[in-house]
């Protein structure tokens, strides 16, 4: 028992010291999905996720807050201005020197520029705007860059990814690096990439954020769940984005 613990500890430290492992070839979760789920995601009319993207499209040009401005007042046509934005997130906000994801950036725009209240993390409106912004980058590869500014966050996210936690004593890596493609009941384990988020998940019967999905993973290993939008999940999101570099944005996706 003792020697097993030592071996595992040695394995873990090896991972920490070297360049973190990335599955090869990288595969989007859609490749592990059933024909039904693929059909839902690939048809822009029948995809239930598009209801949220349509909501986001409407909100984009609706004025909000004391400023009377809409997103479009500053950013004009999202189809041009938002193209290529999602693949660069999460990134450091120069004003606060904090890591923000798309959801955080949208809420910053609301509070700073529109003088409107921030939207709830899992609200239909924030999911809608995030989906609409993300959709403009569909097909573009994720390309976050790790630099001196965000390295601290990247390393925290990486460490969380490789840390065993919860009653199940599992780390992210145990499912998503070592066992992808294999079955957990009737689910095929994916490589755990964030490229389709926010997604319409059949299990949820609604749209949900990447952070909601990550919380479900924490629940799955019976670990304490960090709050949506928390520093822990933002850091993990940055590591996942780095790990998925090269995969293309599928927002708004559909998953089981």
């Amino acid at each position: 028992m003792c020697s097993i613990t030592i071996l595992l500890a040695a394995g873990a430290s090896l991972v920490h010291g070297a360049q973190p492992f990335r599955p090869q070839p990288l595969k989007s979760g859609i490749e592990f999905s059933s024909a039904e789920v693929r059909a839902l995601q690939h048809d822009d009319f029948s995809s239930p996720a598009m209801l949220w993207a349509t909501r986001g499209e409407k909100l984009w040009s609706e004025s909000a807050g004391a400023s009377g401005k809409s997103c479009a007042s500053c950013h004009q046509d999202a189809r041009a201005s938002m193209k290529g934005v999602t693949p660069r997130y999460p990134q450091i906000d120069p004003g606060t020197a904090r890591l923000v994801n798309i959801e955080g950036r949208i809420n910053q725009c609301r509070t700073r520029h529109q003088q409107a209240a921030a939207l709830g993390y899992e609200s239909d409106d924030l999911l809608g705007l995030t989906a609409y912004v993300g959709m403009q980058s569909r097909g573009l590869p994720l390309n976050v860059v790790i630099d001196t500014q965000n390295r601290r966050h990247f390393e925290r996210g990486r460490d969380m990814y490789y840390t065993r936690m919860g009653q199940m004593d599992l780390a992210c890596t145990h499912c998503h690096d070592r066992n992808f493609g294999r079955k957990l009941l009737n689910d095929t384990i994916s490589q755990g990439h964030g490229n389709p988020y926010p997604v319409y998940r059949l299990e949820w019967q609604t749209m949900g954020s990447l952070h909601r999905r990550l919380r479900a993973c924490f629940f799955g290993v019976r670990a304490e769940r960090p709050a949506a939008g928390s520093q822990d999940l933002l850091d993990l999101e940055l590591f996942l984005a780095w790990r998925a570099q090269g995969l293309t944005v599928e927002t708004p996706g559909v998953r089981k």
Binding site: L184, L202, R212, R215, A216
Partner: protein, 164 residues
């Protein structure tokens, strides 16, 4: 001895619900049946009786396209179509989608007519567990036609605790 292919099974299901009378399966035949094909659809007999008023439901003309294995019962895509010219003289009047085990057996009741052009509907349903899905069409001449398909429904391993 009779072998129960899916087709003969389906026929037995429909025979079972026709006129709301369950036909007893012969003892040797029953011994061969999988558990999922127990003398079927007892739950649907009263519902069928309400719809048909006791008239027979004949097998045929109605086609159900639904995955054999649905990976999540919250959303099961389905297409139902009826072989009908959809003319003023001969068309589908009402199309019922029924589930054997959902807490409410009537999933949908669709009204159509000659202006509908084609007797077909694609939608997504909920299924509370593995069960038969039944489609019954009432034609303009008053006759009832139907079909039944069994669907296996699996549960997800990756649950979510955030709930509603």
């Amino acid at each position: 001895m009779m072998r129960h292919t899916p087709n003969t099974l389906r026929r037995r299901v429909l025979k079972g619900i026709a006129g709301g009378v369950l036909l007893p399966a012969s003892a040797p035949a029953r011994a061969q049946l999988p558990q999922s094909a127990r003398p079927p659809l007892a739950e649907l007999v009263p519902v069928l009786k309400d719809i048909t008023g006791g008239a027979a439901v004949r097998e045929g003309r109605v086609k159900l396209q639904i995955p054999k294995l649905a990976e999540n019962g919250h959303l099961v895509p389905l297409t139902v179509s009826v072989d009908s010219p959809m003319t003023a003289a001969d068309h589908v009047r009402t199309l019922y989608l029924l589930s054997e085990k959902n807490p409410r057996p009537v999933i949908a009741k669709i009204g159509m007519g000659p202006d509908t052009g084609r007797a077909a509907l694609t939608t997504r349903i909920r299924l509370a567990g593995a069960q038969y899905v039944v489609a019954v069409a009432q034609m303009s001449d008053g006759s009832f036609w139907g079909t039944a398909t069994d669907v296996i429904v699996t549960e997800t391993a990756c649950l979510d605790a955030d709930g509603v």
